[in-house]
Subunit: 332 residues, 2 copies
């Protein structure tokens, strides 16, 4: 069954909401969308998801894929302490894609937009030799309030939200390890990879507690922390025992034949927040994240004057942590 | 020769300009870009260009492709009477693409951005099974000054800039007609398809002369006019003799075995402006476009109360003009 243009239009119509605050000209109405910016700064990010590089249609549902395309962009806005507002979706679809799959994909896009109070204001739909999703997300932040990667100061503590490594575990599972998906740990890992969560509210709490720098963990802690340190002109010391390894990863380690800590340090797509803040602010920020969002905030180390990132284990042994995360420019 | 990540970074570095006005956090510096919006409304558009659907690497240079990806988005901003400000570029590159090709592509992106005083503030670079370019363009317009598709009024004249059909002629040529590319008309057609021009300044002049509606001609006059009429709740009458058929198309008609008028009415990718305005405003707008830009403005018909679009020929015979333009959702 081939997707007809009418079916596609019906799918897109699910996303054409009624008049939304701030939208002057919305989705599918003109050459471009027009939105109000108020007095805020405009925050812009874009991500391209390409079949057989970022996902396989056989291992992620269309709904999860549509939602994930939005969420990974929202996560980038969150990491600037911005509020998501608008999204644009460019999509390429091969002729063999079924209408039901596309409807489900747009349903995932709509659900993720709704969850983050975003309005889809633009799009472009095309045939393509493989499935391509391109999302641009637009957010707002009060002037001077964006939290960049470049503000980390020597003596700051390094904190991360949630736990790490589960998405990489899920990727390892979906890449072919014939694991028992009936196991709760396996389902948790696959879910973490297919249904990431963007920490929007959490990021704004960290900003309010004076986070000096912040980014989202898309490419793995060591890789992303190296970027943050480079942008800030500092080094870092990670207390390996403190790294919050995802519980499901620990439970599945033997079956997956992986080192949970190694995956928590290097695995991509966790979309947790990595931030730096003054030591005296950590406890209160942690308490508020736990109370408001039920999300852990873990102190994993400190910003140092010396360049490079070192890990220190329980015995006090220190060794350089080479960046070993996900390289976007490498085929999976 | 395979493209290395270092070579790719060098290509992108060509686009990392110094501090640009309005850019708070620019390209490659953080999770997202941050820009000032001033008091203006923000205008947003996105276009996805996919290899073997929108272009073939064998028939367009990398420089032209990079520039065209920007220009087709600028054209959408122009059609809202907006001023281009920022762009984001998502790119997917197969492993067989050579570094020199990518450098040339980014050169085209940089040149087109410079021509339109745009700053590239964001991007995403990935491996992909085929070349994919996703551009999001961000513009500004004073509140209430965007010219939409929905304002055409009965009695308005219908005007188009430049001439029509050349890009479709160039596509026909590059699709395999073994034409003599040494002929000036053939080169002109291929150029029109490979190097479209966005009518930014022209659109602002038309807006200043009170254009009641406006859009860019990306999918062919009859298709796009039908959209404008549908959005405005009106019909249209086109004087076929008045349609400004591209001269090169007329010259190549016999060799191409095409009807120049038919291609001027239905061919896509001209990126000329289609606008409606009060009859008394046309002459002055035409004079200013000719004087300032050397660009023709042609009165091709009138907005009518009756629905649908009719063409009237020199003998006064009237016939419905069915939309017959480019359908994005059809493989070439």
């Amino acid at each position: 069954m081939e997707l007809s243009e009418d079916e596609l239009i019906a799918a897109i119509a699910r996303l054409r909401s009624a008049d939304e605050p701030g939208v002057v000209v919305g989705l599918g109405r003109d050459d471009a969308a027009v939105v109000e910016a108020g007095g805020a700064h405009v925050v812009l990010t874009t991500d391209l998801l390409v079949e057989r590089v970022h996902f396989d249609r056989s291992t992620i549902s269309a709904h999860d894929l549509g939602a994930k395309a939005i969420v990974v962009n929202v996560s980038d806005l969150a990491a600037m302490a911005a509020s998501p507002r608008y999204a644009l979706l460019g999509i390429g679809l091969p002729a063999d894609v079924e209408a039901a799959w596309v409807m489900e994909l747009y349903g995932g896009v709509a659900d993720a937009c709704a969850e983050h109070a975003m309005t889809l204001v633009g799009g472009d739909t095309n045939r393509a030799g493989l499935v391509v999703l391109s999302v641009t997300a637009v957010g707002e932040v009060a002037p001077g309030r964006a939290v960049t990667r470049s503000g980390a100061r020597v003596g700051d503590r390094i904190v991360v939200t949630g736990s790490l490594g589960a998405a990489a575990g899920g990727l390892a599972l979906s890449d072919g390890t014939p694991a028992a998906l009936s196991e709760p740990w396996a389902r948790a890992l696959v879910d973490a990879h297919a249904r990431p969560v963007a920490r929007v509210g959490e990021a704004q709490v960290l900003a309010r507690f004076g986070a000096s720098s912040m980014m989202d963990l898309s490419d793995g802690l060591t890789t992303d922390l190296a970027r943050l340190c480079a942008a800030s002109g500092v080094g870092a010391r990670i207390e390996l025992d403190a790294v919050p390894v995802a519980q499901a990863l620990v439970e599945g380690a033997t079956e997956l034949a992986i080192d949970p800590l190694a995956l928590a340090l290097s695995g991509g797509e966790d979309y947790e927040l990595l931030a730096t803040m003054a030591p005296e602010a950590v406890a209160a920020a942690r308490a508020e994240l736990r109370e408001v969002f039920g999300v852990a905030l873990t102190d994993v180390g400190s910003i140092e004057e010396t360049s490079g990132i070192v890990g220190v284990d329980a015995s006090g042994t220190t060794a350089p942590l080479a960046p070993a995360g996900w390289d976007h420019f490498r085929t999976r």
